[in-house]
């Protein structure tokens, strides 16, 4: 019958139309911002710097080794090393970044900085509502804005953060054992976790 195919199609449309009021599966619209779809745990957006404890300066894990700056494909990280040193998580004096900027208008959320960082210092954030009135300096994230606590990291990526903590604790224990064994302070082995889950 001519037009039969069209009628069949219309039946499908009608079912979808009615279904979009009653069938959960077909109700796909969410009234953002009042309602929000839950973000998956692995969601990633822009990087942030992790610090342990309460003090963003004392606990900052980053040692300004500049590996991430070198490896970042669009070159949006800018680091200036400090002149002095502060103790890291095993107590060894390390440099820290005096300046750490990420230009998030350039960053493409590729996570390569996270993968190459040997100190588990930089991780991916989940904040996505980052619109600003101005597109240059307002989108340049500086150290103070980037530094976020380990608790926050646990909140957004619980599984991954637990793994990282375990790795760090193991590294610290190994370093302590080494220190005991050798009287002189031995360099701590950096926690090797090149492929964070």
């Amino acid at each position: 019958m001519l037009g039969g195919g069209i009628l069949k199609g219309m039946a499908v449309t009608a079912r979808n139309f009615v279904g979009s009021y009653f069938i959960q599966e077909r109700m796909t619209t969410i009234q953002y911002p009042e309602e929000r779809a839950p973000l998956p745990e692995n969601y990633r957006n822009f990087p942030f710097l992790v610090f342990d404890g309460d003090d963003a300066h004392a606990g900052l894990r980053c040692v300004a080794c500049q590996i991430c700056e070198k490896e970042c494909p669009p070159q949006c990280i800018y680091i200036v090393k400090s002149k002095d040193k502060k103790p890291d998580f095993v107590g060894k004096p390390q440099l820290y970044p005096a300046t750490f900027d990420i230009d998030i208008s350039v960053c493409m959320s590729c996570q390569i900085c996270v993968e190459v960082c040997p100190f588990d210092a930089i991780k991916m954030d989940k904040v996505f509502e980052l619109s600003r009135r101005e597109r240059f300096d307002a989108l340049l994230m500086q150290k103070a804005e980037l530094a976020k606590s380990n608790e926050y990291y646990h909140q957004i990526h619980p599984t991954e953060a637990t793994d990282v903590d375990a790795g760090l604790a193991a590294a610290a224990a190994a370093a302590a054992a080494k220190k005991k064994a050798v009287a002189s302070p031995a360099p701590p082995t950096p926690p090797s976790n090149p492929n964070p889950a």
């Binding site: 070159q75 949006c76 800018y78 900027d101 230009d103 208008s105 350039v106 101005e134 240059f136 300096d137």
Partner: protein, 221 residues
């Protein structure tokens, strides 16, 4: 799968005068290629396409490669008289190898389901003699890809039906994929304060004010 040596032998008997060289490939991929001289390239490839044992009817990938002039240093032992005694001394001989542009074709056979047979053709140099025979009359798939090579590398394909720029605009002068290409000295302001970038940006523009005025539009309301 026919080995490159067999292909070379067959093609050289079929096309008299053709010079084919097998280029080894050092990587584990083990994809050696055939370097064909410019004059016979089209006849040889036509033979490869029509030969019933090969039937390379599908030209998958066509691309250009730029090889700059190189200097090769070879150590040679020279006998010289040092303090009246004849001694062997190692001397470095520096030799300049001229660069060239290269077009690489990856041929497969859809009929016999084998491949790739990789064909390379090289220009005489990088400056003026940048002509190569076009393979578009044999494979339509080369049409846009050869145009792209012309656009990005500057190889002139003789016999191409429509050799124009394809990705860059028509008024563009240089060939941006060449290894010695210098990008033009202009760019947009960016706030990442990398030193040379910032210095160069300052030459071109005054540094932007921190706000562009957008906030004042709504702030007054």
């Amino acid at each position: 799968m026919v080995s490159p040596e067999q292909i070379k032998a067959r093609a050289e008997t079929a096309v008299p005068g053709a010079k084919i060289e097998i280029i080894a490939n050092g990587s584990p991929a083990n994809q050696p290629s055939l370097l064909i001289d410019r004059e016979h390239a089209r006849t040889v490839v036509q033979f490869l396409r029509d030969d019933p044992a090969l039937q390379l009817d599908f030209c998958s990938n066509v691309t250009g490669v730029d090889w700059l002039d190189r200097t090769a240093t070879t150590k040679v032992k020279v006998k010289t008289l040092v303090d009246g005694e004849e001694k062997e001394i190692e001397q470095a001989q520096v030799e300049t190898l001229p660069g060239y542009l290269e077009a690489v074709y990856h041929l497969y056979s859809m009929a016999l389901k084998h491949g790739p047979v990789i064909v390379r053709i090289r220009t005489a140099d990088r400056a003026n003699a940048v002509h190569l025979p076009s393979l578009t009359p044999l494979y339509r798939s080369a049409e846009f890809q050869e145009r792209e090579i012309y656009d990005l590398y500057g190889i002139r394909f003789d016999g191409h039906p429509d050799l124009r720029r394809i990705l860059m605009w028509d008024e563009f002068v240089d060939h941006p994929m060449r290894k010695d290409y210098v990008p033009p000295d202009d760019f947009e302001y960016e706030p990442t304060p990398h030193d040379e970038v910032l210095a160069r940006a300052k030459e071109h523009y005054t540094v932007r004010p921190s706000s562009d005025g957008a906030e004042t539009l709504t702030a007054q309301a």
